[in-house]
């Protein structure tokens, strides 16, 4: 088969790059492109152009779209009309996870406990300069005086160690 001329090649190049030519058509065109720099440049130009059409990112279909459209169609909604507002397909009864609540309450309780202990400590503990050690004998003497004040007067003991009781006589 003879090589196609440049005009014929130019007409075949788009189909060749689009994968639409049979091998019988493509083989002589390939040979022509190898031999003809001008046609090769034209083919490269079309290849460059096609590179602007990249595969786009996949489209996310909105959740529940099919059910919504089918419901609208059977409800008599016309094309161009907005879909009626409907409740979500599944009953919205979100199960509440108790863990965040428990954690929150625990942290609040821990904070309160800490603050309370601080307040107690500040209220009852003397400051550093007030921490003066009293001499021990004085404290003991004070205790003795207190005991003496609270204890009734002692009854003399007899020789056997028995105390006389009022009215025994």
């Amino acid at each position: 088969m003879t090589k196609p001329k440049c005009e014929q090649a130019a007409a075949l190049v788009p189909g060749y790059l689009d994968g639409e030519l049979s091998e019988e058509q493509a083989a002589p065109l390939r040979r022509h492109l190898l031999a003809c720099p001008e046609c090769r440049t034209a083919a490269q130009d079309l290849t460059n152009l096609r590179r602007w059409f990249r595969d786009p990112e996949p489209v996310a279909v909105p959740q529940g779209f099919a059910a919504r459209v089918a419901r609208a169609a059977f409800s008599g909604v016309e094309p161009g009309q907005p879909l009626p507002e409907v409740a979500p397909p599944e009953p919205v009864a979100p199960r509440r996870d108790p863990m965040p609540f428990l954690l929150g309450m625990t942290s609040v309780a821990a904070g309160l406990l800490f603050a309370f202990s601080l307040v107690l400590g500040m209220a009852q503990q003397p400051a550093g300069e007030q921490l003066v050690a009293e001499p021990l004998p004085e404290i003991l003497r004070d205790l003795d005086e207190l005991n003496a004040a609270e204890t009734p007067p002692s009854v003399p003991l007899d020789a056997r160690g028995n105390g006389a009781r009022r009215g025994d006589r």
Partner: protein
């Protein structure tokens, strides 16, 4: 009717269409589920607005439902549905005053593929351009094209459809697809170099030589 719904994967389109016509909402829902991804992908080539894309797909299915009795089971339900989607997308453009539809045999369009268009070269997208930047440039250029050209480019370049499938979708011959694609590419290159002259290999930064 409900029996076929027990095995939705085994149900073919014709079964689901028949069941829908017999009153099965679930069968229609299965048809929507089967084709919604493809239609969203197709529709987003006509709008960058997510709400508009959803409107196109939603209207496509509602129109299909209303015309379901006219569907001829000899042809593919997929092709029939996508044809409705393309027309719906083009209607939206027309309503919003964008890129008005021009007649296929408009002599101005036919004469558009002037030889001058093919002498100019175009660069491939720079490797440093992000995917989103390339898509943005391409969409801007596509917006400049009449809808018949935009559609044939979308089907061929983004959807990777064969010439025969494009011909079936648009209801034209393969020869018409080829010539329309040829002119569409010329128009695309022209608009790309006009809007973004930096992608012309001969571009010198806008300074006169």
């Amino acid at each position: 009717m409900a029996l076929s719904l027990m095995q939705p994967q085994a149900s073919n389109d014709s079964d689901l269409v028949r069941e829908t016509l017999a009153g099965s909402q679930l069968s229609f829902q299965l048809l929507v589920e089967r084709y919604q991804g493809r239609l969203f992908a197709l529709a987003r080539n006509y709008s960058r607005n997510a709400a508009e894309v959803e409107d196109i797909v939603q209207d496509t299915f509602l129109k299909a439902f209303r015309r379901l009795e006219t569907f001829q089971h000899q042809s593919s339900f997929s092709t029939w549905l996508q044809r409705i989607a393309i027309n719906t997308a083009l209607d939206l453009h027309k309503r919003r005053g964008r890129s008005p539809v021009q007649a296929v045999e408009d002599p101005e369009i036919l004469s558009d593929a002037s030889p001058g268009n093919f002498d100019r070269r175009v660069m491939a997208p720079d490797a440093r351009l992000e995917q989103e930047e390339i898509a943005e440039v391409t969409q801007q250029v596509l917006e400049e094209l009449p809808d018949i050209f935009r559609t044939v480019l979308v089907l061929r370049e983004f959807e990777d459809r064969a010439y025969q499938e494009i011909a079936d979708l648009l209801g034209v011959s393969i020869g018409t697809v080829e010539s329309r694609l040829f002119r569409a590419r010329a128009r695309f290159k022209d608009a790309l170099l006009r809007l973004f002259p930096e992608f012309d290999p001969q571009w010198n930064g806008g300074e006169s030589q």
